[in-house]
């Protein structure tokens, strides 16, 4: 039994950290934040060239054939760098496509891995939650196929990506259809969420034509693919929060060691030390939960679905708490726009709610433990 990362996994972490710290300084993240176009195409091509887009997919699908632990390793580093790229969205969509692979999707997956194609998943209706069974958006049959009209909300990076995998109802069954974001009748409106380094969109579909080739999956196959890919994306969101927590924890500790008040470093006061100790406990516990979930899902362990819900519930609560404590220990400077803390606080804050917040995850756990 070995909980620690293997040597190749540690090397992957070092490579990811080195690449991102060299190419994605926070000054660059702030430049994207200030511009209309958040998606950093140079960085995207860079990480695609490293093979990280779809690295957990089989090699015949353009992946590296690595596992979900490796996915967590690189995503953690992206969280630590606050990377402004549609990695989470594309990972979610690529995982979904790979679950239902046919010859068309394999070629799309290869383009995604090369960095020339990006995608996201449009799951939630305007008035539904993260449960796929609650989707009501209907496909209407036409002579040439179907027509899609409806309103999806909180779609990750919608306007920045090429393709949306849209979850709909085909008669009574759940289905996934592929829609180009440039297709006629697709309108993406950004919502002004807290995290200015990642956009969420309201997407309206008005009579968008869907052909047979755009029908990705139907029925149980669609539900299983959506649920599995959402779990993979949830693990990635946990790892991203973990990377952000790690940055906040380390930055706060450095500050506690150097900032002086009353002629002593503030880290020499127990009140501050205990905040730092709690931040370590929460970050390391989040690490144990997130990496366990990644491992459990990759080997299809009996408790894998529950472990993902546990990881997301714990990371959501702990991530928020670590961010808050970090601001508190920094004092006034930690509350300013100038300090980088808020970039990570906001990244965590959106991740806290993506794919279901802690309360939503606890209800998923309750369903599994209460007969």
């Amino acid at each position: 039994m070995e909980f620690d990362l293997s040597k190749p996994q540690r090397l992957l972490r070092e490579a990811a950290r080195a690449t991102l710290s060299q190419n994605c300084p926070l000054t660059r993240v702030r430049e994207r934040m200030a511009s209309q176009d958040i998606h950093d195409k140079f960085l995207w091509q860079l990480i695609a060239d490293q093979g990280w887009v779809g690295l957990h997919l089989d090699e015949n699908m353009g992946g590296l054939g690595l596992g979900l632990v490796e996915l967590a390793v690189v995503t953690e580093e992206m969280g630590r760098a606050c990377l402004p790229c549609p990695f989470l969205a594309t990972t979610w969509a690529a995982t979904l496509l790979a679950q239902v692979a046919n010859s068309d999707s394999v070629s799309t997956l290869s383009s995604m891995a090369e960095g020339s194609h990006t995608a996201s998943v449009a799951l939630m209706d305007q008035d539904s939650d993260w449960d796929v069974e609650h989707v009501q958006t209907q496909l209407n049959p036409t002579s040439a196929g179907w027509q899609l009209s409806g309103h999806k909300t909180m779609v990750l990076d919608a306007a920045e990506v090429d393709t949306l995998l849209c979850v709909v109802r085909k008669e009574n069954e759940i289905a996934v259809v592929s829609v180009s974001t440039r297709a006629s009748g697709v309108k993406c409106t950004p919502t002004r969420v807290l995290d200015a380094t990642r956009k969420l969109y309201d997407v309206r579909f008005e009579g968008v034509a869907i052909a047979q080739k755009d029908m990705i999956a139907v029925g149980d196959q669609a539900i299983l693919a959506i649920e599995y890919s959402t779990r993979v994306a949830t693990i990635a969101a946990c790892a991203e929060m973990l990377g952000a927590m790690q940055w906040i924890r380390e930055t706060t500790l450095d500050y506690a060691k150097t900032r002086k008040q009353f002629d002593r470093t503030i880290g020499s006061y127990q009140a501050v030390q205990h905040q730092c100790a709690d931040m370590l406990l929460m970050t390391e516990s989040a690490r144990a939960a997130a990496y366990y979930a990644a491992w459990a899902l990759s080997v299809n362990a009996p408790d894998s679905n529950k472990s993902v819900a546990i990881a997301k519930a714990y990371c959501s609560d702990a991530g928020r708490e670590v961010a808050h404590r970090g601001v508190q220990v920094h004092g006034g400077i930690g509350f300013t726009w100038e300090h980088d803390l808020h970039l990570f606080l906001k990244r965590i804050k959106v991740c806290e709610f993506l794919f279901g917040d802690a309360s939503w995850q606890r209800e998923q756990i309750a369903k599994l433990i209460l007969m």
Binding site: Q273, H274, C276, A277, S285, A288, W295, E363, M371
Partner: protein, 392 residues
């Protein structure tokens, strides 16, 4: 990262599981109210310890040359898990096996190893530890029990408190002050004391639970042979820290299994309760609370596994043990509270489930105090893990 058990670990688990299946006695059911029932229970536990010894399962973590199996820390975790799964009786020699024995192996003389290790594993010697004093709790090195050399004996005078197993132990690992003029960490010595010695008195200490799990011990002119000094004279602080390091590191899996029994029992109990004609497990707030208790416990399990795996690689208990101690003690308090909230006012009755939830709640208040308070654990984490300066 691979959490599956390897072939050696699986073999160990299966061998142990087979032995437990054939040997675990029926559970003890007589209430421990009378002195007679307590004595009989002690003999029941002692007989179990002897069976474990005869089967080769006592002191499994000890090196082979000292009667153990030299198993890895991962196998120790499996050992605790299997014992709990098999419903095995509580281990009587937990302080001896986990804390005193490893310390004797580390720093004891050849004669001490000969004299003490085997009787300890057989359950003939039950050990307690005499560390804390009324005026030396978190500041353990301020302890004031004195030992003065008189010929080939030390003469001990003083008082110890919070002694687990003090009422049944026949030996004590005692920390005393042998040099009152030295700095407080430097004048301490560890002694191996026969509890049958003239001048030793033990008095049970009644807790807020109503139970007497701990004791006070009084030493009046107790004579201890010089041969029973463990480690070097005036170097007892290092010896005590060796012992305490084992204490914090060893407990994870056994504790998890104990808390899991409570958490599973709470969920099972909740499923039987109706309020206003509806099962309480349909109430979204109750569901949130039960799920939170379950996930908190699972995160503790994962923290334990990760710490074990790390120790398996470094072969040493590190200050990370403090993170685990902090986590489980506060988690158990949260979950004991959740049990009362889920069960409602009747849950805190001594007549409900034989007072299980009332007891757990009260007992959990001690968790953040015993074996190093949460404040001390946070100091250790801040200073020894995070490298912050000494603080006051």
């Amino acid at each position: 990262m691979d959490l599956t058990l390897n072939a050696e670990e699986l073999h160990f688990r299966d061998t142990l599981r087979g032995w437990l299946l054939a040997n675990v006695p029926p559970p003890w059911t007589v209430p421990l109210k009378s002195e007679e029932s307590k004595r009989a229970h002690l003999e029941y536990l002692r007989a179990w310890q002897r069976m474990m010894f005869d089967g080769g399962w006592a002191g499994v973590s000890w090196p082979k040359e000292h009667g153990g199996r030299g198993i890895t820390i991962i196998q120790q975790s499996i050992f605790q898990e299997e014992l709990a799964l098999a419903g095995a009786p509580q281990q009587l020699g937990v302080i001896g096996e986990g804390l005193v024995g490893p310390t004797i192996i580390a720093v004891g003389t050849e004669a001490q190893k000969q004299q003490f290790l085997k009787p300890l594993l057989k359950g003939e010697h039950i050990w307690c530890q005499g560390f804390s004093e009324p005026n030396a709790g978190s500041d353990l090195a301020a302890l004031n029990t004195r030992a003065v050399l008189d010929g080939d004996h030390y003469v001990v005078n003083g008082q110890k408190i919070w002694t687990s197993f003090g009422h049944v132990a026949n030996w004590c690992l005692l920390v005393v002050r042998t040099d009152a003029s030295a700095a407080k960490h430097k004048g301490l010595t560890c002694l191996l004391v026969d509890m049958a010695s003239q001048g030793v008195a033990v008095r049970p200490l009644k807790m807020m639970t109503g139970d007497s799990e701990f004791n006070e011990m009084f030493f009046t002119d107790v004579r201890v042979p010089v041969a029973n000094v463990l480690g070097k004279v005036n170097e007892g602080w290092g010896v005590a820290l060796t012992a305490l390091g084992n204490e914090r590191a060893n407990l994870g899996t056994g504790l998890y299994m104990m808390f899991k029994r409570d958490c599973d029992a709470l969920i099972a109990k909740a499923a039987t309760i109706q309020r206003n004609g509806k099962p309480i497990t349909d109430d979204p707030l109750v569901r949130q609370k039960l799920a939170q208790a379950h996930l908190d416990l699972e995160v503790f399990r994962l923290n334990s596994l990760r710490t074990l795996s790390g120790m398996n690689n470094t072969h040493a208990p590190g200050p990370e043990g403090s993170i685990l101690k902090l986590y489980w003690s506060e988690m158990n308090q949260r979950n004991a509270q959740i049990a009362l909230e889920v069960l409602g006012l009747s849950g805190q009755s001594w007549d409900f489930d034989e007072g299980r939830w009332a007891f757990n709640y009260l007992r959990s208040r001690g968790n953040t105090i015993e074996a190093g308070t949460s404040e001390i654990q946070r100091n250790i984490i801040a200073q020894r893990v995070l490298g912050l300066p000494r603080s006051y």
